[in-house]
């Protein structure tokens, strides 16, 4: 796409500033997810505390982006690709804000788990964390490089994350049935896994928003979904 500058240069500056804000907000959200997952893996309370505090910066960016978008809509009357990008920015900020909240929740739960015994599915949480982090990184790169194909690739990865979440769900059910003393910690672990799965959903939303902003068309096809835990009963009963 040839990016011809606007006749009104200040508009170009504002569009650039908007993108920079989204990317910086995204960078902090990505770092917070990474730190939250690490605080679970390493039982690192200090890291968890820092992650919880850092969420305020994400919320601040959300407010700044909303202000800038409102201002641009009022003053510039954007059209076509600009309109899609500006409205998209509002949605991206919203998704990143939710991602930040999930990271914060994971950090809080890592503190709660810290007082109980280590749990088994520790191998799956880092794997989910890695998948989610790559999705966030790639979706931000898709925005920075105006690359709709990369956005689509993030979108296509969501089912794999959902499947991983399904297996964590089954595994944790098994532990809790075997030893009820693990229920508290396992319940936290389940929420942590669910939070990571939700973060993946928001990264997928972002991929759709970015694809639409760049191309002007939605990603073709039904959104792939593989989270089936809503229909799952206890293992052993129906297997």
């Amino acid at each position: 796409m040839v990016d011809v500058p606007h006749t009104v240069k200040a508009f170009d500056d504002e569009l650039a500033a908007l993108q920079t804000k989204i990317l910086r907000m995204g960078g902090i959200a990505e770092a917070n997810v990474a730190a939250a997952v690490q605080s679970v893996i390493r039982r690192d309370r200090q890291l968890a505390d820092r992650t919880i505090v850092a969420d305020q910066r994400i919320d601040a960016f959300d407010g700044e982006i909303a202000d800038l978008v409102t201002r641009m809509l009022a003053l510039r009357q954007p059209m076509a690709q600009d309109l899609r990008m500006i409205v998209g920015a509002l949605r991206l900020a919203n998704d990143l804000e939710r991602i930040g909240d999930y990271a914060k929740n994971i950090a809080k739960r890592s503190i709660a788990i810290g007082v109980s015994a280590p749990q088994q599915p520790m191998h799956a949480i880092p794997r989910m964390g890695d998948m989610v982090l790559t999705m966030i990184k790639d979706v931000l790169d898709a925005l920075a490089n105006r690359d709709p194909e990369r956005a689509r690739s993030v979108w296509a990865r969501d089912p794999a994350l959902d499947e991983l979440y399904n297996s964590v769900f089954r595994e944790l059910l098994t532990y809790m049935m075997e030893d009820p003393r693990t229920i508290t910690a396992c319940a936290h672990m389940l929420f942590i896994a669910k939070n990571l799965e939700r973060i993946g959903d928001h990264a997928t939303n972002m991929a759709e928003t970015i694809h639409f902003a760049i191309v002007g068309a939605r990603i073709d096809g039904e959104r792939p979904k593989a989270d089936v835990t809503a229909e799952m009963s206890a293992p052993g009963k129906d297997a």
């Binding site: 500058p5 059209m79 076509a80 690709q81 600009d82 309109l83 899609r84 002007g216 068309a217």
Partner: protein
């Protein structure tokens, strides 16, 4: 990045989803040796507002003026191509231009009331076309036209006063009433709000929306927001070429041609 000497991509024209009122095919126009329109193919839908947009000198007003043969008044202008109103060739020698212009009325950029009373401004067309059977019939036409143009309440008690004494926005609505008075099928508007303040502009836009129930409207505007607000279909002209035509919403959210995109986003023009 846009030059005329390159081979131009084909215009992107989305099909009309209703009856066609005006069908233009292969319209070329020269002012002397200078070509102002190149092979324009465009349909104007019945009872719709079609907005013609594009930078200055793109041919949008020239095209609009082809529809009621206003370009005939320019000695150097030469039109080649086919324009049909309800299937009838308007450039056929059999067509009476005065009758055509009664069917296809026009409202101009600057309000241009005649130096006559408000009443006579509106009554002028019906009188010369012999549309009124009696004085009371003429009164009805004047009242009805002023009501349609949203001006009746403001001028009902001062019909004998000169039309030129009205405010700019009122004068423009008077011109619209004058156009309506001869019961046209199509109303062409050439930047009807460019000399008006925002409130008067909003009134005219509201009026345009009401008028489309009974008339087919084609409007040239420099305000893209106005095109987006009043029209159902938008055609983008550039350098005498029709670049893209389609549903207004699409033109302003996801245009298909890069030049349309650059223009509507304020990147040139």
């Amino acid at each position: 990045m846009v030059t005329t000497d390159q081979a131009q991509p084909k215009p992107v024209v989305m099909p009309l989803d209703g009856p066609v009122k005006i069908a233009a095919r292969g319209v070329n126009l020269w002012y002397g040796a200078k070509q102002a329109l190149f092979d324009v193919d465009l349909d104007v839908g019945a009872n719709q507002v079609t907005a013609l947009i594009g930078p200055s000198g793109c041919g949008k007003s020239t095209f609009l003026r082809c529809i009621n043969r206003m370009n005939d008044t320019i000695p150097t202008a030469r039109v080649v191509g086919d324009i049909r109103l309800d299937g009838e060739d308007i450039y056929s020698p059999a067509v009476d231009v005065v009758h055509l212009r009664a069917r296809v009325g026009m409202v101009f950029q600057k309000p241009n009331p005649f130096p006559k009373s408000i009443y006579d401004n509106v009554a002028y067309g019906p009188r010369i076309h012999g549309l009124a059977e009696s004085k009371s019939h003429l009164d009805d036409i004047v009242r009805f036209s002023l009501e349609r143009a949203g001006l009746w309440k403001e001028v009902a008690d001062r019909l004998p006063q000169p039309g030129t004494g009205l405010s700019g926005g009122q004068q423009q609505r008077l011109c619209i009433a004058r156009a309506i008075a001869v019961s046209p099928e199509v109303i062409l508007m050439d930047e009807p709000c460019s000399a008006l303040d925002p409130i008067a502009t909003a009134r005219i836009e509201e009026l345009i929306d009401d008028l489309r129930d009974n008339f087919t409207i084609a409007i040239v505007t420099h305000s893209m927001q106005q095109a987006a607000r009043v029209s159902q279909r938008t055609a983008f002209f550039h350098l005498g070429i029709l670049v893209e035509a389609g549903p207004t919403e699409q033109i302003f959210t996801s245009p298909l041609d890069q030049r349309t995109q650059d223009y509507v986003t304020g990147r040139f023009g």
